[in-house]
Symmetry: D3
């Protein structure tokens, strides 16, 4: 029987810590669904990139890492902003899965309350391999490229991502 | 340069006509995005299956047909029910594409008004290779299996799809 | 241990058939939650009355029938129009329950798919004890009062319900 | 004191019957707000034109009719699809008004229930001066131009409106 | 004539200060509606408990306090996040009421602007009888039980509420 | 050919700096659309006034400044809170425009990414001619009247705006 893992994140952007988690999960399951959360948002401080851009980053990175898309699906999932229906909503979007991989306390608990099996991920230098840290470094013109796969660095260039992140820090528009 | 095609449908369910279109498009483009529309809906007369179930049907069918997921992505896209923002919404979810393949007059026009290149698809016995026809045959206990790939037939069995479609025809609940 | 039953309907309006079901369920459970569905809607052909008006109708009818509100809660629940999350949504609104009582095929199936215990209700002359029939009789100036509890008849009077139902049949506004 | 009238419609499209109503209301009030309802919708059978297009049609027609925009405001108002909050929603969008002019039974009743003063409009050959009739004539290639102001006819041309209405009648997409 | 009071809160969780207010209002009105606001939210820092859980807390507390549900209704009301329609929305959900009891400046003003009669509540040691204070004490392992009715303390135990509140303080998910 | 400018803001409230921008844009374009953003919100700290009140403020100010509404339209546009569809949404509401005038980095970028022509506005003592500054002065009982047109000052009086802003600073309700 095929064992399917589920890995949920916002991936703003996808970084080397995420890649390590993907590789590790693939040693434990037959197939993996990477759910790209908050899919409807983009151009905000916490969510600078569109779902399309994030999927592209991850897909190119898997290609470079020779991880077959036969084993990995990448699925965007919009936020509903109501936690009590979150698990039902995600499940309708994705189909069935056997194990959820997450370190976020809320994600873990919501899936556990709904009866799913949840496993934590080991951290890979959490204080630096973090999307928040990467966005901060982009703002401060510090070295962020060391923290992301080459594909992400290239796509950041193609969509003018550095300028976008800097611009967003100067706007006072609402930021979902 | 990679040429990316976009094929949008609800796939309720995915049938052999859809499969022929996919094969044909793959002779024209390098990569194909299959957008599974009305993704949030399920358990209605026009949308009996969840996005997860529809993705699973398509994915298994591609596997059986030896079409590599390296060339084909399957992405669920929720309806927004406001046509003036539809193309912008789809594009944010999917990323960039070069040609849209569609026979629906509204889909074609919205993408054309937004400046996209749109191509029609040849029909494969449109009067029988149609999801509406399939759902009708299911209701009438007529032969619907001849119209769908084996994977769809199998998944319909696994999720008790025949009973679901019949049950929906008897409920007087609102049907998005 | 307290056994809690759940009875979901739109109650547009509450009629004598509903009341019989309530009485019957109360012989089987300790406590009953009456969920007033489509709670946000009113002033449409299928949903002429507000949640507030429907709650008032039911509450007064229980009082007249000497059914204690110690055993019966009346809770409005808004529609989400996405069936895949319906059960999770209802459950978050209501809390826990042990048995769902419903004759609607979709409601039954959604709760069963979510693992709940579901029981059908016996019908009390279904062809006349039906909210649709009552709204039709109101339109045709036929005797609808015989089908509803006295409290409903009185509240229909207080909110000018007959005129409202007739007016709605003449408007061409969208009717959720 | 300035007396402000409110005239609500969808204006799909604005026609000569609407224009007569506007002229008549302007003999009764000092200022008029024309609320363009269902503002978010377009590209559907009942709502072919965007709010922007409808505002443009009305504005040009007022100009041609030498009706000063000093006395008439045109304000788009989106649908909320929940009738119980409709009047509060409209009022927040528009500000204060003294008399509502409407022939629609539901609009009239909702404003009356909220305490507003409502007046009906005389009909100008209602069976032909109707947006539904105009859209039907467009579909059947019958003379629709006789029913609309010249500005509307011109803008219909500029936005390829005839083709749009015909195309929409052939699509089986959901039509809000 | 029956005088109906309305008391709106989020009750996250219901505490002894709330109970005192309920008792006091019941000396002034014949019937009381307790509206449980922000009903759709749960599992966030400011809204840890579902509507169902909050209703259960209040209902059990009334039972323990021998306050009859004949005189008190508990009704969940979802947020609409648009203040201009708030009063209309609440009223559609609840039905009619004669006096609103509230200390919140915004709630009071919105109801007053809509023409309702509003009364403030006396405070019962506001600095400690506050849901915010209770959630803070839970986080700091300080004595929060002294501030809530026994029923709340029991239900907090049954739903593992202490762990839930602590977990939410560690998640960086959006918190409506 | 008519050149149409678009000026987007929340105008909470409209001040003398806004008026200067309007006058300046009118030297560059034939017609101007003033889009009143976040139109659905009111009674929050950042959005104290309804769209109706803001339109009234601007309209009266244009009248006092002898700027003809023949050249200037004022159109409320609700937020969608999803930036990827913002430009499509605004365009559907407003119709066509030739140049967008904005100093906000996000607004500018979103319109530029969608292919529109965008121009910045010169600042008129930005540190004081700012809606944020005005709301702050209202709270601190400092002189805010010097920063707004007389019409705004008058309407603030009529809607009890000073009390409203102060009240909102004391409420702990969610503030979109």
């Amino acid at each position: 029987m095929t064992v399917v893992g589920l890995y949920i994140g916002r991936f703003q952007p996808f970084h080397l810590g995420h890649l390590e988690v993907v590789k590790l999960i693939l040693t434990k399951v037959d197939e993996l669904i990477i759910a790209v959360g908050s899919a409807q948002y983009s151009h905000t401080r916490k969510n600078p990139f569109t779902a399309g851009e994030r999927i592209f980053m991850i897909r190119e990175c898997l290609r470079d890492s020779e991880i077959s898309t036969d084993r990995v699906q990448i699925i965007p999932v919009p936020d509903v902003n109501v936690h009590g229906i979150w698990v039902a909503h995600v499940t309708a979007y994705l189909g069935t899965y056997d194990i959820v991989f997450s370190n976020d306390p809320l994600t873990s608990r919501l899936f556990k309350e709904a009866g799913a099996k949840v496993e934590g991920n080991p951290f890979f230098k959490r204080e630096i391999y973090s999307s928040t840290e990467i966005r901060k470094r982009v703002l401060l013109d510090q070295d962020w490229r060391a923290l992301v796969p080459r594909s992400v660095s290239k796509i950041m260039g193609a969509v003018d991502g550095v300028a976008r992140i800097k611009m967003l820090s100067q706007s006072d528009n609402p930021t979902p």
